[in-house]
């Protein structure tokens, strides 16, 4: 009650003020909450929002899933091998420093304007945080735990799978959460700029049409995609790795 009461009150008051102010200004500039709810219901009824939501979820799931697999695998290699780290570091730094949105036209040249291009953008946005955090986690295996592996004669596989990898799990999840936020941005950019489809497509279309209430409904649905994905990740962490604690990192 105490935990939920204050945030709830805050949101209710905010929406109330928005409603009152919104009623007095041009609805193109500032749609009221009730208008947004109406738009939301209308978009579900006429069958726009459902498929758009699923398309957004699908693009995110595939691109982000790939980024997770590749990022963790490469991160392990970079974290374990100094040679691999030196070889890959220039590329990692390049992609970290580059505003990835500038690569979208290149992606279109490579992959066209369809599903492949979109998931590649999501992949590209999400990959680097996951890779870097995995490498950091693997590299930061405490000296004492490495010694435990040596004293009790762990094989190479045992010390990677039994010590380095589990030790990196909290750091990997921190990377996964940051990567998810970035992947979400990538997904919306791809749907706005590459295919004009899904939720990004709705944002572009309603923005261009000055239908502000519909635009806001689409934006809120995109946040919902992020919230659902983040919650899914958190559930995964708790189920698979109950010994980890939530890191409480705000990622977007």
């Amino acid at each position: 009650m105490k935990r939920w009461g204050l945030p709830l009150l805050s949101v209710v008051i905010f929406l109330g003020i928005w409603q009152i102010v919104g009623n007095r200004v041009d609805p193109i500039l500032f749609a009221t909450p009730s208008a947004v709810v109406d738009a939301f219901v209308a978009m579900i009824r006429d069958g726009q929002l459902g498929p758009a939501f699923l398309s957004a979820m699908g693009d995110l799931a595939v691109g982000y899933g790939l980024a997770a697999v590749v990022g963790i695998a490469l991160g392990m290699v970079v974290g374990r091998s100094e040679v691999a780290e030196r070889v890959l570091n220039p590329y990692i730094n390049f992609f970290q420093a580059t505003p990835l949105i500038a690569l979208v036209p290149l992606v279109v040249i490579w992959f066209g304007v369809g599903f492949k291009a979109r998931i590649f953008v999501v992949f590209l946005f999400a990959l680097w945080s996951i890779l870097i955090n995995t490498a950091t986690g693997v590299k930061s295996t405490p000296r004492a735990l490495i010694d435990v592996g040596r004293v009790y004669k762990f094989t190479r596989t045992q010390s990677i799978m039994g010590i380095a990898l589990p030790n990196a799990v909290p750091s990997i999840f921190a990377g996964l959460r940051i990567g998810l936020g970035k992947g979400l941005i990538g997904m919306v950019i791809a749907q706005m700029n590459i295919s004009v489809t899904g939720l990004g497509g709705l944002v572009i279309d309603y923005g261009n049409a000055f239908k502000t209430a519909y635009l806001l409904a689409a934006i809120i649905t995109a946040s919902l995609v992020g919230v659902i994905a983040a919650a899914g990740l958190e559930v995964l962490r708790r189920v698979l790795f109950p010994w980890t604690k939530s890191e409480g990192i705000n990622t977007w």
Binding site: A144, L145, D147, V151, Y152, K153, V169, W243
Partner: protein, 272 residues
Amino acid sequence: MDDAIIDIRGVGKHFAQRRDSRKVVLEDINLQVHAGEFVSLVGASGCGKTTLLRMIGGLVPYEPGAVRVNGELVDSVPRRIGFVFQDAALLPWRTIEENVAIGLNEYRKSFSKQEARDRVAAQVELVGLTEFASYLPRQVSGGMQQRAGLARALVGEPDVLLMDEPFGALDAFTRMRLQEELAEIVRRTSATTVFVTHDVDEAVFLSDRIAVMSIGPGTIREVVDVDLPRPRLQRQELLGNRRASELRDRVLELVIGDRTVPPAVEAAGVRP
């Protein structure tokens, strides 16, 4: 002597500093530890006692000299040893029981799964953790974590038990209890033990001999025989024991004297 389980001869260690200079950490260490013996390494911090222990355990290279465990030259971690680390060093993602089972990893091919489980359960019981067997390390106290670390080291019935200030991070009462438990466990096993500590009372209570180390460069200043009768099972048995306080004072004098006796006094032969 030939029956030494741990045989350290002329061992040193240095780090290269600049082009020509090097920092000598340990110099000309000689120490033989015999079967079933309990030897403590005592000294002020920085004397290299932990480094020496890690050398015996094959975790730190040395040059020059020779360390032999069970007659074999140590150039990697020797077989059949147990090591108890300063802060337990349990794997946080494994339960207490699973952590103890790590001690059997070296011998995993010679046990059936059931046999291994039984041994682990017996060892967990010996250190009084049966009730907490399926807990994660962070769910139990520091004392229990160190008990689990001890169980992990003992479960494989090692020939050599190396302990690096295992009780240093615990509160005084827990430390005393664990010292007594260790005394009982050591009495029952035949492991040859080297124990690093800066707690002189602990060293007197547990040891057969105490090797006192001095700083700069680290070397063994003197080995003190602890000629107190065994079994010693409770710390309070040594309270008011004259011989025990003599030994304690002797060791303390060696440790402290190393730092406070001015060279001039020493040279004049007026040692306190």
